[in-house]
């Protein structure tokens, strides 16, 4: 039993139809019920909820403050490699993109650590492409062992692994794994992932079940917004979350909202999400699930990021580099994507404090698993 058998019970077109047929009464119900379910989530992400955005934002704010208080968890991505054997139509690390490739050595990793520690970071997110021979389980294990003495919380966003591999990494101090399905529409997934191990939709879909069985502390779920109709895709992500939470009840969960933007020469997007719609989605998740971590990267703009702190986001990065080695030796030729909010960490945390929130650098401890 995995999410694969669950997803087979869902019909993309029917769900899409349900979302777009939602009424004001459905949205009212979702806003008033004590325990919103997936049907309520569908109403909250529907076009019918657009006029309710302020009410949704107020509710999302209240629920978030009650659970998380007036605090925001800070983290930093640490890109270790841009080598990749996959072709993904939207990604700067795709095999067919002609960029310089680099995988950090131990010394280079430690040079990055030095910079990130000087900024104050204590929660770290390791990011790589998928190059199993050079950047596989042994590389990750070594990297985590190098980083562990310096960071309280270690997350990875790398290729899907086997259960035993997750167990091995948890054993050396891994806390969190983020794997995004990109899109839950199998046909469309294949168009965007034509080559490489990542083209196997089902293997990726069952990754969270493998993590859950391995006993991971936290797992991240999400879609790459823009590849498909965002509403239907997000419904699937919420269904995935709902399934995982019930089955792997000892794990924590995190959602993030990477949003593709239309750009010249870039991949053709099936839907373009507006700022209003992204706020709607953030609030819908919070109303649906009070306990979940909602995370935001520097892909979004300064103004947008300043404002979503009050709307339900609980974890945020700043001052990020998406090129391996970029903290110590920036090189734009190695970047995955150009970040939007370029403020320094100290500038960013001041804006959090100005809004009446406490930026938290240490929210976990090495001794906890």
């Amino acid at each position: 039993m995995s999410f694969k058998s669950e997803i087979e019970k869902l019909n993309w077109d029917q769900i899409s139809k349900q979302i777009y047929a939602s009424t004001a009464a459905d949205v009212e119900h979702a806003l008033n019920t004590a325990k919103p379910d997936l049907n309520d989530f569908a109403a909250l992400i529907s076009p019918a909820a657009a006029p309710y955005l302020e009410r949704m934002a107020q509710k999302s704010h209240d629920l978030t403050v009650q659970r998380f208080g007036k605090t925001i968890q800070m983290y930093a991505p640490l890109y270790l490699s841009n080598e990749c054997q996959n072709i993904c139509t939207y990604c700067g690390f795709s095999l067919d993109v002609k960029i310089e490739r680099k995988t950090l050595s131990d010394e280079e990793i430690m040079a990055e650590v030095k910079v990130l520690k000087s900024y104050g970071y204590d929660h770290i997110l390791i990011v790589t492409g998928e190059a199993n021979k050079t950047v596989g389980i042994d590389y990750f294990k070594n990297a985590i062992q190098l980083l562990k003495p310096h960071f309280s919380h270690i997350a990875i966003e790398v290729q899907p692994l086997e259960q035993e591999e997750y167990e091995e990494l948890i054993g050396v101090g891994l806390n969190t794994v983020l794997v995004y399905q990109e899109t839950y529409n199998k046909e469309n997934y294949k168009k965007h992932h034509p080559k490489g191990k990542k083209s196997n939709f089902d293997y990726r879909l069952e990754t969270h079940d493998r993590m859950g069985k391995a006993g991971i502390y936290k797992m991240g779920v999400g879609v790459l917004i823009g590849l498909e109709d965002w509403r239907t895709d997000s419904f699937y992500a919420a269904a995935h979350l709902d399934y995982l939470e019930k089955k792997y009840w000892q794990s924590n969960y995190s959602i993030s909202f990477p949003r593709l933007r239309p750009c010249a020469g870039g991949v053709e997007l099936k839907s373009v999400m507006s700022d209003k719609e992204l706020v709607q989605l953030i609030c819908a998740y919070r109303i649906f699930n009070q306990e979940i971590e909602l995370s935001m990267s520097t892909r979004e703009s300064e103004v947008f990021r300043n404002n979503v702190i009050k709307l339900g986001i609980t974890s945020i990065s700043a001052d990020s580099k998406t090129d391996p080695g970029g903290y110590a030796n920036p090189n734009v030729n190695l970047e995955q994507f150009e970040i939007h909010d370029k403020r320094t960490t100290s500038q960013f945390i001041q804006s959090i404090i100005d809004q009446g929130y406490e930026p938290v650098f240490k929210g976990w401890d090495k001794v906890l698993q």
């Binding site: 009650q66 406490e358 929210g363 401890d365």
Partner: protein, 255 residues
């Protein structure tokens, strides 16, 4: 109002407080001072034990606060014991609030792991205050293995829903030979007063103070409520009755 003794410490305030969720450590300190609290709990995961200048701890230095490190984040007895030992070494206190919640959604305490860890920690010389569901049998078992107090929940942690476990709290209070501290779910001063009227020895409040618009003012409100509730309990309030006293008692003929 009588003093409260737990382990080797005597408290004149029966309001215990938490340190999470505040918008700043300055605000936390001001609110806790206003509350008159003498025992404050802090999560190990939020404190840098290697940093003697840790900002959160700096704001808890005023001498009116005794520290109660908690094990929030651990999922097993083994992890809890390890975390407690680290806290003892770094924070120089053998007091520990034992929280083991393997369920991150509702943060429900695990009774089995809690009992195991309490037993172990007591042997290692800790003053153990375990956070538990309002389970009277578990409260007795913890007391038997040497817990210095028990901390049953009033309702799910952070929920602000008040005293929803009243019937079970009453049994725990009736049977306990150690102090009973109602922890979790207290969302309003009236909830705190009510728990004290029931006979709880103390209450622990965090979310309701930290997330209020004016944490200092509500800290003071909780102080007053806890004192009022305790004094009412000590005054032996009149009983609630469903009926008025009969004016013609049925047993009058016996006189």
């Amino acid at each position: 109002m009588s003093d409260l003794k737990i382990g080797d410490k005597v408290f004149t305030s029966r309001l215990f407080t938490g340190t999470g969720k505040f918008k700043s450590n300055e605000m936390m300190e001001a609110a806790l001072l206003a509350s008159g609290s003498q025992l404050v709990t802090m999560a190990l995961k939020r404190v840098d034990l290697n940093d003697s200048e840790d900002d959160l701890l700096q704001h808890l230095k005023p001498t009116n606060f005794s520290w109660l490190p908690n094990t929030s984040g651990v999922r097993t007895a083994k992890e809890a014991v390890f975390a407690a030992e680290l806290a003892r070494e770094a924070l120089q206190t053998n007091w520990i609030k034992l929280e083991i919640h393997p369920d991150p959604k509702y943060l429900m305490p695990d009774p089995i792991e809690t009992l195991l860890a309490t037993e172990e920690l007591v042997k290692k010389g800790f003053i153990v205050l375990p956070y538990i569901h309002a389970d009277p049998v578990l409260a007795k078992r913890l007391q038997d293995v040497g817990a210095q107090a028990v901390m049953p929940l009033g309702s799910p942690i952070g929920s602000n829903k008040g005293i929803k476990t009243e019937d079970f709290l009453r049994i725990i209070i009736e049977q306990a030979t150690v102090p009973v501290i109602v922890d979790a779910g207290i969302g309003a001063p009236s909830h705190a007063a009510y728990a004290m009227e029931l006979g709880a020895d103390a209450v622990l409040v965090n979310t309701a103070i930290a997330t209020a618009k004016d944490p200092v003012k509500i800290g003071l409100a909780f102080k007053m409520a806890v004192e009022a509730g305790r004094m009412a309990f000590e005054a032996k309030m009149g009983q609630q009755k469903d009926h008025a006293e009969a004016s013609s008692p049925l047993t009058d003929f016996l006189n």
